[in-house]
């Protein structure tokens, strides 16, 4: 009888977040993304590049509040989730560059970051197409009887896809350990949700499947942390999936080629006031946990890591042409 192997469960993060660590992660994501944009302009990065600037609090708070072995299944705007999970920034940047030192060896690209050793099960570029996978990862852990859950990040654009509805229904009816986190930034590419969604409060759609659903301020990293921490444990108790709608905003275009005809500059400006990094910084200042010098130090640190990531990526060679056909099929190791 072939048996399943078990790994010991990971520790639960503390109920109170480490604000400094959250700030550090958000600064890293911001700086990393700014560097990526620069590198795109310089022609080092090609294809589609979707920046996470503005939404840092969602990935940072959620991933910090989950256990380190909880699966992450994300969409294509996933650099933030990858960095928050602790994927090596150099290897992430190298993937954007399409180099052999990338997390996916240059085979994936910006939309397909993978690090199975960190339970980072990928970025996916088919809107809602990754939701069934999160259900399956949760199903597997339920089947094995472990404590692991799956965090499934989706955009507001996913909610009108059939796979969204199929996934919510299956997760609910089988009580799968999946925490769905919808990053509602009000636009799917250039389309305002109000123009295409019959019900714009996304969490209500989950409620239609009998799923416990909440809305959270996705510009507030501590609110994200608190909600995820609480809801992840609820999912872990076997009470079924939970749906968290994080209200957020992307400050940059959909991808690098977006002229942003569809939204007004004033609107972007109103949201910029709610910058998640600035919110946490101000809070820490007020609490006496941070001063200008310490903040500058953290910024400098993020800057240095992003800079080092670029240097690593640039020095990494492109994949060998001779490897083109590698990893199409997996051979059996014991055959």
């Amino acid at each position: 009888m072939a048996r399943m192997t078990e790994t010991p469960p990971a520790a639960r993060p503390p109920s109170q977040p480490d604000r400094r660590s959250l700030l550090r992660t958000m600064l890293l994501i911001r700086r990393f993304e700014e560097k990526a944009a620069e590198m795109y302009a310089k022609g080092k990065i090609h294809g589609f590049l979707h920046l996470y600037i503005g939404q840092e609090a969602v990935a940072t708070g959620a991933v910090a509040a989950a256990r380190p072995d909880d699966y992450i299944v994300s969409h294509y705007r996933e650099h933030g989730h990858a960095l928050a999970r602790g994927l090596d920034p150099g290897a992430v940047m190298a993937e954007l560059f399409g180099r052999s030192g990338g997390v996916s060896g240059g085979r994936g690209g910006a939309m397909h970051l993978f690090d199975a050793s960190k339970s980072f099960m990928g970025g996916y570029a088919i809107v809602a197409g990754h939701m069934p996978l999160a259900c399956g990862l949760g199903l597997a852990e339920q089947y094995k009887g472990t404590q692991r859950i799956a965090l499934n990040f989706i955009g507001d654009g996913a909610v009108n896809e059939g796979e969204f509805h199929e996934s919510l229904n299956l997760a609910a009816v089988w009580k799968l350990p999946v925490l769905f986190i919808c990053e509602n930034n009000f636009y799917g590419m250039g389309t305002d949700v109000r123009r295409v969604s019959a019900v714009i409060e996304v969490y209500k759609r989950a409620e239609a499947y009998g799923i416990h659903a909440e809305q959270v301020d996705g510009m507030d990293v501590e609110a994200m942390y608190e909600a995820t921490h609480r809801l992840a444990e609820r999912v872990r108790r076997g009470e079924g999936p939970v749906f968290l709608e994080a209200i957020c905003y992307r400050f940059r275009g959909h991808s690098m080629s977006d002229p942003e005809f569809y939204r007004h500059k004033d609107e972007v400006q109103r949201w910029r006031v709610l910058d998640p990094i600035e919110q946490l910084r101000a809070r820490m200042f007020d609490a006496g946990e941070l001063d200008d010098a310490r903040f500058a130090e953290l910024q400098h640190e993020a800057d240095a890591i992003a800079g080092e990531a670029v240097r690593f990526a640039d020095a990494s060679p492109p994949p060998e042409i001779s490897t083109l056909h590698d990893f199409v099929y997996k051979e059996r190791s014991d055959a």
Binding site: G129, P132, L137
Partner: protein, 327 residues
């Protein structure tokens, strides 16, 4: 050796897997309480319980996707999709996820998933229930496509599918479930990518798989009465394809007819014909012929449906045309 049906052979492989590998579980529409729409999993729910045999909602995409996810997490799921017709609602999962994950992740994540579905026509099920879309799946690198034509193959190939580290699309033929043949009781394997010379012959090669193999065989038997000895090849798997086996036969007979239920235009027979002319052009004495389904949605009326499918007479006339004066 006991003689059992194609259906029973598939059951035996599934039972063997459930009994011998706790990572294996089955899920699909009506596979449990109902017993499977082709009765393949009848009784399994009672025998193995809901943990191992899961009835799913009618939601093909998430069912296949959940199978992929579970395979990513180290399990060995088998998803039954009732029929190939409904697999179209899961094609995003098969093509965008199952086939590409190993590559996109640079070898970090593979998807050892078995997806079973019934295909083929000939039972008057109408246009939406009579597809032979195996060439669509065979077109995609990263997945394997298995097309058993006998009970022996069905069990042995399904056993091999569960050994595989990749996603295997296992296409059964609706008209073959009741067909009988000798099948060993043990857990033997039939390897992928190795065709079977179903009937040896020297004059012309008839290439078939799944349902079309049997038509090719009957055509060959009839031609033998007229002194033409056809070699009949049973492909067993379309991907991997036994190119060497095909070429070896063609080098001997110098002529080939490919038989498939699939539509002719853009179908799998065209791929085989192309491979033969690329790699064995000088060995050919005649063009490679295709005896395929007609390019129409499958009609319901019996006479029309039969006219749309390849028939023995058609195979024989194509074969005779290229054998020419030789016989």
């Amino acid at each position: 050796m006991p003689e059992i049906t194609y259906r029973e052979a598939i059951r035996q492989a599934l039972r063997y897997q459930l009994q011998n590998d706790e990572r294996v579980f089955l899920m699909g529409e009506d596979i449990g309480a109902y017993g499977g729409s082709y009765a393949v999993t009848k009784g399994f729910l009672d025998e193995f319980g809901e943990h191992r045999v899961k009835d799913t909602p009618i939601a093909e995409s998430v069912v296949v996707g959940a199978g992929i996810g579970a395979a990513m997490a180290g399990l060995k799921p088998m998803v039954e999709l009732m029929t190939i017709n409904f697999s179209l609602l899961a094609i995003d999962q098969i093509v965008n996820n199952a086939s590409k994950l190993y590559y996109m992740s640079n070898g970090q994540i593979n998807v050892p998933l078995v997806i079973r579905m019934a295909g083929g026509a000939g039972s008057q099920l109408g246009a939406q229930h009579s597809h032979s879309l195996e060439s669509w799946y065979a077109h995609v690198p990263g997945i394997k496509v298995v097309v058993p034509s006998t009970p022996y193959d069905a069990k042995g190939l399904l056993m091999t599918a569960f050994d595989d580290e990749n996603t295997v699309i296992f296409i059964e033929h609706t008209a073959l479930y009741a067909s009988k043949g000798e099948v060993p009781e043990d857990g033997y394997r039939v390897p992928f990518g190795k065709l079977q010379v179903f009937r040896p012959g020297a004059d012309v090669t008839l290439i078939g798989y799944s349902g079309s193999l049997h038509q090719a065989f009957r055509a060959a038997e009839r031609m033998a009465q007229e002194g033409i000895e056809a070699e009949v090849l049973n492909l067993r798997t379309l991907r991997p394809l036994d190119v060497d086996g095909i070429l070896a036969s063609v080098r001997k007979t110098h002529r080939a007819v490919v038989i498939e239920d699939d539509w002719k235009f853009g179908g799998f027979a065209g791929e085989i014909a192309a491979i033969i002319q690329e790699q064995a052009f000088d060995d050919l004495d005649a063009p490679v012929m295709r005896c395929s389904g007609s390019d129409v949605p499958m009609p319901y009326a019996a006479a029309l449906e039969q006219a749309a499918l390849p028939q023995e007479d058609g195979i024989i006339s194509l074969a005779k045309r290229i054998v020419g004066g030789r016989a």
